[in-house]
C-alpha cells in the first residue's frame, strides 16, 4: 500500500513540476467550453437571397420585404434580370435566387399562377439546403398571410410545431455534451499515454521494471491522477455550460458523474494500451490521432448516427464515446435516469474493464 501511495504521489509531483500540464488542464476545458459552442454551430445564418422580380406587384414586394426582415435571410439584391442574379450566385455573393414570374399576383386571384422558382447554391450542402428551406417557409408565410387577409380562415393557425427537449432548437445544447466528450478524450486519453511513453524515452521505466512493483499497481498509479483530473474537467465543463450558456442537466448530476467515471476509465485504459505498444512519443501521438478521428467522427458526437450508412451504424457499437454521448445528451436534455440508460452504462463498464485489463496485460516487465 505504501508503494502505491508513493507512486501516485510521484505522478502528481511530476504533473505539478511540468511547466505546461497544470495550465493545460485548467485552461483547456474552460477555453473549449467558452469558445467552441459559439463556433461549432450548424445553424445557418446570413443566407444571401437575390429576388428576381418579374412581377413588380404588391405581392412580390411583400415577399422581398419579408425575406429581408427574416432573422436568417439577407436580401442581397432585387433585379429584373435572372442572368444578373445567376452571375452573383456564381461569384458567391448570393446563396439563393427567388424568381417571381410576371403576372404572379394577378394570376393568383384568378387561376393557378406560374410557379415561383427558387435556385440555391448547394456547394455548401447544409447552407444551400437550409437556406432553401428558410426561403420556402418565408414565402409560404407571406402567401398564407395574403390569403388570410382575403378569407376569414387563417391558414397560419392550422399547424402547431413543438420541438421537444430542445425547445429553441439551439444547436449549442446539442454540441455541449459532445464537447465534454472531446475534452475527456484529449485530456484523459492523451496524457496517460504520453506519461508512460515519456518514461520509456527517459529510461526511468526500466528502473521501475527492475523493482518488485506489480504491473497492475504501476498502471493504476498512472491512471488515478487522470481520473481525478477527469472529474475536475467534467465539473468545470458543467459549470461553464450552466453559467455561460444556461444549460443545466434536466436529469441527475449523479448520472452524469457516473457515466463520466466509466468513460474516463475506458479512455485512459485505452490510452495506456496504445502506450504499451509504442516506443516513442511520435508513434503514440500518431496512433492516438488515428483512433481519435474515428471516435470523434463516428460516435455521433457531431453527426447523428441514424443518418450513417448501415455498416457504419453497426460499427459504432464498438466505439465507447457513442454510449457516453447518448448518456450525456439524454440526461442533459431529457432527464433520462441511470436505470433507463442501463445498457449504455453496462456497455461503458464492459469497455472500461476490457481496456484496463488489456493495459495491465500488455505492460511487460520482462521482455
Amino acid at each position: 500500500m505504501r508503494a502505491f501511495i508513493v507512486l501516485v504521489q510521484k505522478e502528481f509531483l511530476q504533473i505539478r513540476r511540468n511547466s505546461f500540464l497544470p495550465r493545460l488542464i485548467i485552461a483547456f476545458p474552460i477555453l473549449v467550453m467558452l469558445l467552441m459552442p459559439l463556433i461549432m454551430t450548424m445553424d445557418v445564418r446570413q443566407v444571401n437571397v437575390a429576388v428576381v422580380d418579374l412581377d413588380r406587384s404588391t405581392t412580390s414586394r411583400r415577399i422581398a420585404s419579408h425575406i429581408s426582415a427574416s432573422e436568417y435571410l439577407t436580401l442581397a439584391q432585387t433585379t429584373a434580370e435572372y442572368p444578373f442574379a445567376m452571375e452573383a450566385l456564381e461569384q458567391g455573393q448570393v446563396d439563393v435566387i427567388v424568381q417571381i414570374p410576371a403576372d404572379f399576383e394577378r394570376d393568383m386571384t384568378v387561376a393557378t399562377p406560374e410557379r415561383i422558382s427558387i435556385t440555391a447554391n448547394a456547394v455548401n450542402a447544409t447552407k444551400g439546403g437550409m437556406g432553401m428551406q428558410y426561403v420556402v417557409q418565408t414565402i409560404a408565410h407571406t402567401l398564407s398571410e395574403l390569403r388570410g387577409e382575403k378569407s376569414p380562415a387563417k391558414l397560419s393557425g392550422l399547424v402547431t410545431i413543438e420541438n421537444r427537449y430542445n425547445p429553441t432548437l439551439n444547436y449549442r445544447y446539442y454540441m455541449i455534451p459532445a464537447l465534454m466528450i472531446i475534452l475527456f478524450i484529449l485530456i484523459c486519453g492523451f496524457l496517460p499515454a504520453l506519461s508512460i511513453v515519456g518514461e520509456k524515452e527517459n529510461g526511468t521505466i526500466e528502473q521501475i521494471n527492475v523493482t518488485p512493483i506489480s504491473r497492475f499497481m504501476f498502471i493504476l498509479s498512472k491512471l488515478v491522477p487522470y481520473w481525478l483530473i477527469g472529474f475536475f474537467v467534467v465539473t468545470v465543463a458543467m459549470l461553464v455550460a450552466r453559467l455561460v450558456y444556461g444549460l443545466t442537466p434536466v436529469g441527475s448530476i449523479g448520472a452524469i458523474y457516473f457515466g463520466a467515471l466509466l468513460f474516463i476509465l475506458t479512455i485512459s485504459g485505452f490510452s495506456l494500451t496504445i502506450a504499451n505498444f509504442s516506443e516513442t512519443m511520435q508513434q503514440t501521438m500518431f496512433v492516438m490521432f488515428f483512433f481519435i478521428m474515428i471516435f470523434m467522427l463516428m460516435s455521433g458526437l457531431l453527426t447523428p448516427i441514424d443518418s450513417m450508412p448501415m455498416w457504419a451504424q453497426r460499427f459504432t457499437l464498438i466505439l465507447p464515446p457513442r454510449y457516453f454521448v447518448e448518456v450525456l445528451r439524454s440526461v442533459y436534455l431529457k432527464g433520462t435516469t441511470i436505470v433507463e440508460l442501463w445498457t449504455n452504462y453496462a456497455a461503458l463498464g464492459v469497455f472500461a474493464l476490457i481496456f484496463n485489463i488489456l493495459a495491465a496485460l500488455t505492460y511487460k516487465k520482462q521482455a
Binding site: A3, L7, Q14, N202, T211, Q366
Partner: protein, 246 residues
C-alpha cells in the same frame, strides 16, 4: 566466500538470428565485487538484464539470490538493486522525493525511509541538496545518488551497468569507495566497466567476447595467465579476436 549468490549455467539470449549471449556459465559469491568486462556489443548488458529479470532467457538456467531467473523474476527483484547505463532517477523530482519513491516501492515504512534517507545523505555529504531537483545535479553526483538509491533497500546483489561512464577521476574514486563499503557490508557487487583500472579493483573479473565468457579469474591470475603487465593488456589480447564490430 563460498556462499553462491549468482549462479548461471549455459544462459543464452537470441534476438532472431543474432545470439547476443551465448551459453555463459559462472558463479558469483557473497560479498564479491564481480567485474563483468567486454567490448561494446559483447553482450554484457543483455546478460545483466537477464539476471535482473528484465529480459527472459532463450535457454539455459540461472539463479540470483536463490531464485530462478526464468520463473521467479519478481522475487529476484525484491533482493537486487540495479543501476542502468542511462541515468534513470526522476529528473523532475528532488533528491528526497526520489529517495522516498524508491524506498516506498521496496516497501520501507515512513520512519525507515526517513532514517535511511538521512543516513544516505550524510554519507554522500548531500544533506544540503535534499530539496534540489535531480536534473540540476552534476553527473558525478547523480551517479553516486543513483547508486545509493539502488541499495536503499539493502539488497543482496547490486547490478551496476557502466556506473562511472563519463564521470571525472575524483568522483570515480569516491564511487569505488562507496562500492567497497557496500561490499564490506556483505552486498555482492556485479559491475560492468570499460575502465581497466577499475577492473583491477574487482575481486574477480570475467571478460566477454562475442557473447561468450572467454576468461574468468582474479585480476592477478588473469595477468599471469596472459603474461600481461596490466588488465588493459589482458583485455586487448582477448578483444582483438572479436568478430563483432562496434
Amino acid at each position: 566466500m563460498s556462499d553462491v549468490v549468482i549462479s548461471v549455467r549455459d544462459l543464452t539470449k537470441r534476438f532472431g538470428d543474432f545470439t547476443a549471449v551465448d551459453r555463459i556459465s559462472f558463479d558469483v559469491h557473497r560479498g564479491e565485487i564481480f567485474g563483468f568486462l567486454g567490448a561494446n556489443g559483447a553482450g554484457k548488458t543483455t546478460a545483466m538484464r537477464m539476471l535482473c529479470g528484465l529480459s527472459y532467457p532463450t535457454s539455459g538456467s540461472g539463479t540470483v539470490a536463490g531464485y530462478d531467473v526464468r520463473t521467479e523474476s519478481e522475487q529476484i527483484k525484491r533482493h537486487i538493486g540495479y543501476m542502468s547505463q542511462r541515468f534513470s532517477l526522476y529528473n523532475d523530482l528532488t533528491v528526497w522525493e526520489n529517495i522516498r519513491l524508491f524506498a516506498g516501492i521496496y516497501g520501507l515504512s515512513k520512519t525507515q525511509t526517513e532514517e535511511r534517507a538521512t543516513e544516505l545523505l550524510d554519507r554522500l555529504n548531500f544533506s544540503s541538496e535534499r530539496n534540489t531537483l535531480v536534473c540540476s545535479l552534476p553527473l558525478g553526483w547523480k551517479q553516486k545518488l543513483s547508486f545509493a538509491i539502488s541499495t536503499i533497500h539493502r539488497p543482496e546483489v547490486v547490478f551496476l551497468d557502466e556506473p562511472t561512464g563519463g564521470v571525472d577521476p575524483v568522483t570515480r574514486r569516491q564511487f569505488w569507495e562507496m562500492i567497497y563499503e557496500a561490499a564490506d557490508g556483505g552486498t555482492t557487487i556485479f559491475v560492468t566497466t570499460h575502465y581497466m583500472d577499475e577492473a583491477e579493483y574487482c575481486s574477480r573479473v570475467s571478460i566477454m567476447v562475442d557473447g561468450e565468457v572467454r576468461a574468468l579469474d582474479t585480476p592477478a591470475r588473469l595477468k599471469q595467465q596472459f603474461a600481461a603487465e596490466s588488465m588493459d593488456e589482458v583485455f586487448r589480447t582477448l578483444a582483438r579476436g572479436a568478430q563483432r564490430g562496434e
